[in-house]
Amino acid sequence: MASTLVVPGQILGSTSSHQPGPGTHVYENNILASIIGRSVVLRTDKQSSKPVISVPRPGTNPTGIKSASSLPNVGSTVLCRITRVQQRQVAASILVVDPSPQDVTSYTRLTDDDMQFQAVLRREDVRTHEKDKVVINDMYRVGDIIRASVISLGDERNYYISTAGNDFGVVVATSDAGNAMVPASWKEMRDVVTGQAESRKVAKPA
């Protein structure tokens, strides 16, 4: 695994022998770096395909080929904070894209909602079963942190996210009394102090 420090415009290899990965671009049959960092050559499992040259960004997994940038993509997992709950949909702001278990940083460096990408969770995307019986107010409350997957880049403003699936739903929530809550079942969380139960669509703990 050859690894050197590169700057934008530096030639990393030829398209005849390698494939361009994240952090690179192609110019005149050559693969050039497009960001600063260490170039990484990854051999693919399949014998037929060529090894991939990439320049990973700091904080992203070098093996995660799809995470070319820190922007949300279709299929990426995001952590969001619920900002508004309506009858038909929930508005949320995206805090982290593709969180890794070893992420020890705070949720985000940004605190301003206008600086974060906005997302919409429609009522029919909350869960896979009994979609027509979903009552949004029993699923999410303002301030909850949810894990969701991006299903569409959406319109000019919002990304569309979905919490259909066991792994998606509320991960951090506070009760009416303001205390932290722990998951009790897939649809219930309990206040750690008072024991009061509140209904949520809970993500399966890792």
Binding site: L5, P8, G9, Y27, S34, I36, G37, L71
Partner: protein, 310 residues
């Protein structure tokens, strides 16, 4: 044109007394001690603004002070640049599949000899526009759909023609824009925004020589009494492409010398840009090694953290 939101000091300026200079000291311009093809030394550092995604600070070597006079003639360039984003487009903006880049240049009130207000003036707008077109030629915009990026350059000290003392203009303006482009490129690379190449800018000029006019790289306005023609380019070295060009003066009437035609003028500006690019590259590599050394230390510091994966 008064700014009502801030306390700006007295509107009527008080001018300090200016004494008539003796015959010997009126000539305050310094002679160029560098070789014609030698650039001023550049100080550049990235990662200076913690709250920004990427940032850089650039300073040019100040010319040696000839003799202490009434006017402080050592004028140099000090620029700070911060890159904010990629962030969501503003609410009013329409859908865009590309990165929306916007650049602005602001003079600090103390940047030039004559103190100026906070309101954006035409010089700042002009430089900002040129900077924006130059940077749009180097970023790969389709890597960041639906997002915007803002590049803000603050001029902490603008090299101006101190003898005239008035507004920045002429070759000082070119040097300022070249510095803005170089510092923005370093900040963009620090922010890890995808770029085609390391963009660099340089200034070349034709000055009257003892015999015939000759070409110089990186002319400082204070070192030359007269500049016949000057040219600025924004240049992508690995593709041999020019993304920004701005020239001033006339070279066509300087005789039939091939060496100092317009092509020669552009060539000297390109040579100056190549010189600046080596500095930007060195600084970025150095910043990478520095952050890697820092990152290796980090896991040891975090050893006492509570392990959540029980």
């Amino acid at each position: 044109m008064s700014d009502r939101r801030r306390l700006n000091g007295p509107a009527g300026t008080t001018s300090p007394p200016v004494f008539a200079l003796s015959k010997s000291s009126t000539k305050s311009s310094q002679k160029r001690t560098r070789k014609p093809n030698e650039l001023r030394k550049i100080f550049l550092q990235t990662g200076v603004v913690p709250s920004a995604t990427g940032s850089a600070y650039l300073e040019l070597e100040s010319p040696p002070e000839s003799k202490p006079g009434l006017l402080n003639t050592s004028s140099t360039l000090k620029l700070s640049c911060s890159v904010h984003g990629p962030k969501p487009l503003p609410r009013t903006a329409s859908f865009s599949p590309n990165l929306q880049l916007s650049a602005s240049v602001k003079f600090a009130p103390f940047a030039t000899c004559v103190r100026q207000g906070y309101i954006r003036d035409s010089t700042e707008r002009d430089i900002g526009m040129h900077l924006e077109t130059a940077l749009k030629g180097v970023v790969i915009p389709d890597r960041w759909p639906k997002s915007a990026i803002e590049i803000a350059v603050t001029v902490l000290e603008g090299e101006d023609d101190q003898v005239d003392g008035d507004r920045i203009g002429g070759v000082g303006l070119f040097n300022l824009l070249a510095g803005c482009i170089n510092v923005s490129m370093a900040a963009l690379a620090d922010a890890r925004v995808d770029c085609l190449d390391l963009l660099a800018a340089g200034v070349g000029a034709v000055v009257p020589g003892p015999g015939k006019p000759f070409r110089v790289l990186d002319p400082a306005s204070i070192e030359h009494d007269l500049i016949l023609a000057s040219c600025l380019v924004g240049y992508l070295p690995s593709r041999d492409e020019i993304v920004e060009i701005w020239s001033n003066g006339s070279v066509s009437n300087l005789g039939r010398d091939e060496d100092i035609g317009f092509d020669g003028l552009v060539d000297s500006a390109v040579a100056a840009a190549r010189g600046s690019q080596t500095v930007i590259k060195e600084v970025l590599i150095e910043s990478l090694t520095r952050t890697e050394v820092g990152a290796e230390k980090l896991p040891n510091d975090g050893m006492n953290d509570v392990d959540m994966n029980t």
